[in-house]
């Protein structure tokens, strides 16, 4: 918060300095105000109401014409936005104060013949907190309780000292199964607190995923003052026959030429909590405080148009908003997993199908596994900066882009000090392969470019975009810290064509817009062993295709469209038919459905095969006829959707259970 004020103070100072450079100016026009009020509803099968948002937004613009001085023109622009999502009140059983409940896990079981001391070993339901107490395997301190051993999780930061379960601090209520959306498989599962953080603070990650009920329902009213969605000053300075345009303040900066998925359009983070990836990017980009300078040279040499842009983002870094456990949209279910893991670290937890070879629900004490903290870069020394050259050459539009920023998606870095769940006498240490993490947002450098051009014989406009990033981090069960760095090449080719389908509309063409996104991990690591597959769960190469077919009728007042996306490796699909109707300039009504289908359970090594602790029962994994991994690490013995299979399932597949109907009404004035 303090840093935020510092940066805003800096921005204010810069504005003030800019102001000193300005002469007196005159109103060039009256204040222009555009207002929008929108009601947005979504309804999901099995869940019910998943959105009931009332949104108000005002766009304000004011132009000034300086009388003399360095500026040719000056403009102030602001967007104010406020919204309230009543879902958290109207469907509080799923998304609000009453969400979740008591949970139990269906463990695989190992059978009575393999009875472990003080634990239930048969297949079937095991309640939260009643899983296998690992200490009973080594310390013999387990205390039998009804239905199984009773364990107490130690307070955060303290070493494991006893075996009694402290249900008071981490009760079996307000929880949901991490697998809740997809159904349990034979892999691991966790309990996730799903109530707002002011109602249930368990698993909330300070400064990252810690929204209270008010912040979930009215997200603009937060510490970052998001109700001030955009606020900037534009100044235009003539430099000979060229123009230097400056923009200072909170703004969106759009790079690239593609829709839906991003390759170059990465300057601003994205708010996926609003409607996953399915809202217009301009509505869900998170505007950032930055200084942007565009030096526009017009036609020069062989270029019909050539321009240079530089940017410096001074507002504190913000990651993409991935929602929060218990909120309505959690892409990749990352927020659920993070909250469950954070609760594990802080308060202890039960993880299903973990112990005894991945067959028994297993209790962990605080500080043994989980997420310790999120390290979010802050301060001016962690700012984003970059630039681009963009122009037109011989009918081809091009850009060359470079950006030094921080990954807007989180990385889980293992290798932190944790406790040995098998040995209460062991000192806290860094145990290779242990699923104890800090969340990091690594510095990444992006180099890319884009092209657009027409292919006249086929009446098609082509868009190409590519980006090469250095410094991104990916989960990797073959590494002791369970992550590794990889350069990534991303690319997209898009084609837009207007085509008449005369029997459907003889007078207005349909827009066909197709895109193919590709991703290639340069430093990929995946091992196939007799025990299974382990390493990086992401696909080394994957492609997502999108298709938009849009039609217009009644002088563009009625516009049906079909949006489809297909993830080739995950084999997951989304299809979204909708109709937009504008009965007048004031009103806009939209109805549609967003349906997911196809595969949604891609399993991967869940690291349960790792044997990092000396006291663990069973032999270290051995691999016949090939190189063996370090004995502490997983060799892919056990796999499931959770948690790492989610990377293979992708953002389309992981929303499989979020098919929904939607309707919105907007009034603009």
């Amino acid at each position: 918060m303090k840093q935020w004020f510092k940066t805003m103070a800096l921005a204010g100072s810069a504005l003030a300095l800019t102001g000193l450079a300005l002469p007196a100016w005159a109103d060039d026009d009256s204040l222009r105000i555009k207002n929008k009020i929108e009601e947005d509803f979504q309804y999901r099968d099995h869940v019910g109401l998943s959105k009931a948002t009332t949104l108000g937004q005002s766009d304000l613009d004011k132009d000034f014409t300086p009388s003399g001085g360095m500026f040719d023109a000056v403009k102030i622009h602001a967007i104010l936005r406020a919204s309230y999502d009543a879902t958290f009140q109207l469907n509080s059983g799923h998304f609000g104060n009453d969400a979740g409940g008591a949970i139990s896990f269906n463990q695989n079981g190992i059978g009575a013949a393999n009875q472990l001391p003080g634990s239930r070993t048969d297949a079937g339901p095991v309640a939260w907190g009643q899983g296998l107490n690992l200490r009973t395997l080594t310390d013999g301190l387990g205390t039998a309780g009804p239905g199984g051993p009773v364990v107490t999780f130690a307070p955060p930061g303290q070493h494991y000292v006893n075996t009694n379960f402290n249900m008071a601090g981490n009760p079996n209520q307000g929880l949901a199964l991490l697998s809740g959306y997809s159904g349990e498989d034979r892999g691991i599962d966790m309990g996730v607190p799903v109530r707002p953080c002011d109602v249930d603070h368990r698993g909330c990650i300070k400064g990252y995923m810690d929204k209270n009920a008010q912040e979930l329902a009215a997200p603009e009213f937060n510490k970052r003052l998001d109700f001030l969605r955009e606020f900037y000053v534009d100044g235009s300075i003539p430099v000979g026959s060229n123009t230097l345009d400056l923009r200072l303040g909170r703004q969106q900066l759009v790079w690239g030429r593609t829709d839906l998925f991003r390759v170059l359009d990465v300057v601003n983070p994205i708010d996926y909590s609003r409607n996953n990836i399915y809202d217009e990017n301009s509505d869900i980009r998170i505007p950032m405080g930055m200084l942007r300078a565009d030096y526009r040279m017009g036609a020069r040499g062989p270029f019909d148009d050539i321009n240079v842009q530089g940017l410096w983002e001074f507002e504190n870094f913000r990651p993409d908003d991935l929602g929060q456990a218990g909120s309505t949209n959690n892409p990749l279910q990352a927020a659920d997993f993070f909250r469950g893991m954070k609760n594990c670290w802080d308060n202890g937890c039960t993880v299903n199908n973990f112990g005894a070879g991945g067959n028994l629900a297993t209790n962990f004490a605080p500080g043994e596994i989980g997420i310790r903290t999120a390290n979010i870069p802050h301060g001016l020394s962690h700012s984003t900066y970059g630039g681009k050259v963009e122009g037109e050459l011989g009918g081809v539009g091009f850009s060359v882009n470079a950006l030094s920023t921080y990954s807007q998606l989180p990385s889980l870095r293992g290798g932190i000090v944790s406790n040995d769940p098998f040995n209460s006498a062991a000192a806290p240490a860094i145990y290779p392969g242990v699923i104890a993490f800090d969340i990091a947002f690594p510095r990444v450098n992006l180099y890319g470019g884009s092209l657009d051009f027409n292919i006249e014989p086929i009446d098609t406009a082509i868009r190409i975009e590519t980006a090469y990033t250095q410094g991104e981090e990916f989960a990797n069960t073959a590494r002791s810290r369970l992550f590794s760095e990889s350069d990534v090449a991303r690319y997209v080719i898009g084609a837009d064509r207007n085509t008449f389908i005369r029997f459907l509309n003889p007078n207005r063409a349909f827009l066909f817009s197709a895109q193919m996104f590709g991703t290639h991990l340069m430093n990929y690591e995946l091992h196939e062993s007799p025990t299974g597959r382990y390493g990086m769960p992401d696909w080394q190469d994957n492609w997502v295709a999108t298709l938009l077919i849009k039609a217009w009728y009644a002088h563009d007042t009625i516009s049906p469209q079909l949006l489809a996306a297909h993830d080739f490796m995950a084999r997951a699909n989304t299809i979204e038919p909708s109709v937009d109707w504008q009965p007048s300039n004031l009103w806009r009504i939209k109805i549609g459905a967003n349906m997911k289908f196809g595969a949604y359970k891609n399993a991967f090594d869940n690291d349960v095969g790792a044997t990092p602790f000396a006291g663990m029962p069973g032999a270290a994994p051995t691999i016949a006829g090939g190189s063996s991994p370090p004995v502490a690490l997983s060799a892919g013995q056990l796999a499931g959707l959770l948690p790492l299979g989610t990377f293979r399932t992708g953002i389309l597949g992981m929303a499989h259970n979020e098919s929904q109907l939607f309707a919105s009404v907007a009034l603009r004035f």
């Binding site: 759009v254 009918g395 002088h555």
Partner: protein
């Protein structure tokens, strides 16, 4: 301030251009630019001040194009006849014609022209015996004086109307800018703006101001000197904040749901080589040329210094103006592309100004689909900035879809002020400045 100074200089240049004697030494040029010097067209059935309506339209049939005849016959509109006046074009344009037209010739294939420098390339009277007469008129249109070396329309109201009910479905408020990068005759730099590496002849820029759902949409068109080269067109969608290169298919599709395609702008907004042009003859017909300040103007959208032309007739789809009996060249334009959404345009080019003031557009089945009226005002009876410019002012358009019973009307506030159309506005990156 700088803009105002430029405007004053430009206006002065244009005024000086028209201050000379309204004549040319070359008889070919004289006949082309001053066709009414020895008298205006006459028709025994047409008298100044008369109103042509369903009752008397048959008498005036020879002075009307077929679509206008039918619309009057069907009672959609009544038109009042005004006196025919000479719309003398800017003298610098006439002088440029006189200086260079003799060296101009058509090339070997459609879209080729040789020896063109500036002005009207083919001022010679077209002849039915000349198989290239239609193409030459198309060149005269392409290199017409249009908006001079640079001009601006703002605001520009487009209203979508249901003809039967008269209901207004939608009103768009826009700005348009035009700039000639080559063959400039009146405003420095002349003849060309440099650098211009791709040899762009003309730029057209449009920005939507209202309503909100399409506000900030911007359209940019670059037309090249090489007529066989595809126009470059970009669309900036405000709600996406992204610049998109347009495919050619979008040029021949409805623009923002109106009854116009981008190709319809100004009468025809495409390459000459995209059409096969056939001269059909010279006629005297009633066209919407008038003096803006002498018309009955509308209170709607009125500004302190300007009122727009009013509308009347069925669905208020017709301009409330007087029509002049004027000499026109009738030309048929047939698309070279068999997939084009129309089968042909019948265009009536005003012989004196070479504006396409009347046009009938036929669907792929050959039936009349749309009819286009473009109202032109004498610049001396318009805004002060336009006085003396020698550029007929776009003042109103009506694009009527006779099949759907629908129209789009346009009400202009055109300003022949090059300072309002700076070259920077026609740069692609300028579209992104709103990002």
């Amino acid at each position: 301030m700088r803009n105002k100074l430029l405007a004053a200089v430009a206006a002065a240049a244009l005024c000086l251009g028209t201050a000379g004697l309204a004549q040319a030494a070359d008889p070919v040029v004289e006949k082309s630019f001053y066709p009414y010097k020895d008298g205006v067209p006459t028709n025994p059935a047409i008298k100044v001040g008369m109103v042509i309506n369903a009752a008397n339209v048959d008498q005036a049939k020879d002075a009307l194009d077929p679509a206008m005849y039918q619309m009057i016959k069907d009672g959609w509109v009544e038109i009042k006849v005004g006196p025919t006046t000479s719309f003398d074009l800017n003298k610098s344009y006439v002088d440029a014609t006189e200086k260079s037209y003799k060296a101009v010739s058509l090339g070997d294939k459609p879209g080729d022209i040789k020896g063109y420098v500036a002005g009207r390339p083919f001022p010679q009277e077209p002849s039915l015996s000349d198989s290239h007469a239609g193409e030459k008129i198309a060149w005269n249109y392409k290199y017409g004086i249009n908006y001079g070396d640079g001009g601006f329309i703002g605001p520009f109201y487009w209203t979508y109307r249901n003809m039967a009910s008269g209901n207004i479905e939608r009103v768009l408020k826009m700005n348009f800018s035009f700039l000639n990068f080559m063959h400039r005759v009146a405003v420095a730099p002349m003849p060309n703006i440099a650098p211009n590496p791709s040899e762009m002849y003309r730029g057209i820029y449009a920005k939507v101001l209202e309503p909100q759902d399409v506000a900030d949409t911007q359209l940019l068109i670059h037309r090249y000197e090489d007529d066989t080269k595809l126009d470059s067109s970009w669309l900036y969608l405000g709600f996406q904040r992204r610049v998109r290169k347009l495919s050619t298919g979008q040029i021949t599709d409805s623009f923002l749901g109106s009854d116009l395609m981008i190709e319809d702008f100004e009468g025809y907004n495409g390459k000459n080589s995209d059409m096969k042009w056939t001269f059909k003859g010279t006629r005297n017909i009633l066209t919407s040329f008038y003096n803006h300040n002498q018309m009955e103007l509308a209170e709607e959208h009125a500004e302190p210094d300007y009122k727009f032309v009013g509308l009347m007739g069925r669905g208020n789809c017709f301009p409330k103006v007087t029509y002049q009996l004027r000499k026109v060249f009738e030309v048929e334009a047939v698309p070279a592309d068999p997939n084009h959404p129309i089968s042909k345009r019948i265009m009536y080019f005003d012989a004196q100004t070479m504006y396409a003031t009347r046009e009938n557009i036929y669907d792929r089945a050959g039936k009349l689909w749309k009819t286009f009226i473009i109202g032109k005002s004498d610049p001396d009876f318009h805004l002060p900035i336009n006085k003396g410019t020698g550029i007929a002012i776009d003042d109103e358009f009506s694009m009527i879809d006779v099949q759907a019973g629908h129209c789009t009307t346009g009400q202009f506030k055109a300003q022949m002020d090059p300072a309002l159309a700076p070259a920077s506005r026609f740069a692609v990156d300028g579209l992104r400045s709103g990002n």
